[in-house]
Amino acid sequence: MYNERVMKEFAEPKNVGFIENADGVGKVGNASCGDIMEISLKIDNDIITDAKFRTFGCAAAIASSSVATQMVIGKTLDEALNIKNKDVVETLQGLPPQKIHCSVLAEEAIKKAVEDYRDKKNN
């Protein structure tokens, strides 16, 4: 069902965990749907210097979160906000149709983490 690229990412995900004193955290999904994705960011001067994730979900959800964290590190906040779910799918060289929603969760988790940072900064 999954291609080799997805399986590789699933078998050896990068950036697993939670950043202590994170500057922004985004958590999306819920357990009853079978997916919860949480991305935490370290942000310095509007640049994402570190990202970690924790995911309860299927192989596609884990692979998508792993890829998303790798994509945002080194990016500015605006660049991170521009990451679309299809970019995650492209990096993974494709996901099965019924698993596309996992890449959408990854996009949403990034957005939510950035928003969380901006909310905290503005208050």
Partner: protein
């Protein structure tokens, strides 16, 4: 180590003894069993033998055995055949909400098109139906009660004899999907008052693509496939002689060895369950711990983990298991069987079925448990739910 196969409820390897029995029927005894000449009669003779082997295994008469393509066809035929055979009496059917999709999807579709009215009985936390609830569901226009002998996900074995007695007392046809049960549960159709029974050879070390519908003599059933006159005009299509011969041999062996295999496999299963429960925290055993469970079946929910990732990590470690039923994998739905037993939706997402077979060994179980412990730990470290539970997440 070779790959480990713990998914015998999905399918079993065809035993070598069975394959050996089948081989001559591809190249030597290749006649069409329905032909009148010697080639055909020769093949027909072996089909008769297989029919008797199947009949003997369940206490039926050979004339009550109809070969089909498998469990799904047998289930479809039983439902549709009874609906059309007993049209004058009504169209109400009583079944359970934990039947195989071959039953549930068929009944739902018939109900949607106004061709049947279906009552789906619920189950208790161990997967058993309530016999009082069954009795209360009976109506004057009830034409069929269909309850699976053993469940494919959690292995619960229903009280088929008692259900058969209830059906008989109320003059209602009783069908059971015994696809998971044959070879694992002793069945006597007369003693258990079974009118229709579905089975599939590949679940008991026979070939794929061949099954049987048992029909008690006298039960009105419309034909399913139309065409030639095979199977007493009830199921058209050239008989698959090699598969039929293989099925006959497989059911003969399964019946002969049932006690030996059940003892061996249940010991493996019990050892596995004890290991998992002692070495992994926050696991929930799904189904019953009583002996009214398939000897081969163990089903666990691992809290904080989603079943598919666990299945695929085990696969990477060389172990084949199943999450929910094989037919629902790839869908995003949690197990409807576990939801019916009252399991929380999160736990229904995180279930794994291990189904053991006669060729498995204790060493394989040890290897599996060792890997399972590590994989569960790894995936929990990945899971935000796990840390919430441990109270380490500051953002809850």
């Amino acid at each position: 180590m070779n790959r480990i196969y713990f998914d015998h409820s999905a399918t079993t390897p065809t035993s070598e003894e069975v394959v050996k029995e089948m081989l001559p029927f591809f190249t030597d005894i290749y006649g069409n069993g329905s032909s009148q000449h010697s080639h055909g009669r020769e093949a027909g003779k072996y089909i008769d033998i297989a029919r008797r082997q199947v009949a003997d295994a369940i206490g039926a008469k050979p004339g009550e055995i109809y070969f089909t393509s498998g469990g799904t066809e047998s289930d479809n035929w039983a439902i549709r055949g009874v609906l059309s055979g007993y049209k004058a009496k009504g169209k109400h059917i009583i079944t359970t909400c934990i039947e195989h999709p071959a039953m549930i999807k068929t009944l739902e579709s018939l109900q949607k098109n106004g061709l049947a009215e279906v009552t789906f009985l619920g189950v208790d936390s161990e997967g058993f139906i309530c016999l009082e609830e069954l009795k209360n569901a009976i109506r004057p226009d009830t034409i069929l009660i269909s309850v699976m002998t053993a469940n494919n996900e959690i292995g619960t074995i229903q009280d088929i004899k008692e259900i058969g007695a209830i059906a008989k007392a109320n003059n209602i046809i009783f069908h059971t999907d015994a696809v998971q049960a044959i070879g694992n549960v002793k069945i006597d159709v007369k003693e258990m008052n079974i009118d229709l029974l579905s089975m599939s050879a590949h679940k008991f070390y026979g070939p794929k693509g061949i099954g049987v519908l048992y029909r008690r003599n006298g039960i009105k059933l419309s034909s399913y496939m139309t065409g030639g006159e095979q199977e007493r005009n009830m199921r058209a299509g050239t008989l698959n002689t090699p598969a039929i011969v293989g099925m006959g041999k497989a059911i003969e062996i399964a019946t002969r060895d049932i006690d030996k295999n059940n003892k061996y496999v249940s010991e493996l299963r019990d050892y596995f369950v004890a290991q998992v429960e002692s070495k992994i925290d926050n696991v929930y055993y799904n189904g019953t711990k009583s002996n009214k469970r398939l000897a081969s079946n163990a089903n666990f929910s691992f809290e904080f983990i989603e079943g598919e990732s666990l299945l695929l990590r085990l696969d990477l470690a060389g172990i084949s298991v199943s999450s929910g039923s094989a037919c629902s994998s790839g869908s995003l739905e949690p197990s409807y069987v576990l939801l019916a037993t009252g399991r929380a939706i999160e736990l229904a997402h995180g279930s794994l079925r291990f189904s053991f077979g006669k060729n498995n060994t204790k060493q394989e179980i040890d290897y599996c448990v060792q890997n399972l412990v590590k994989i569960v730990q790894d995936l929990r470290e990945l899971s935000p739910l796990f840390l919430i539970k441990k109270g380490e997440n500051k953002y809850v």
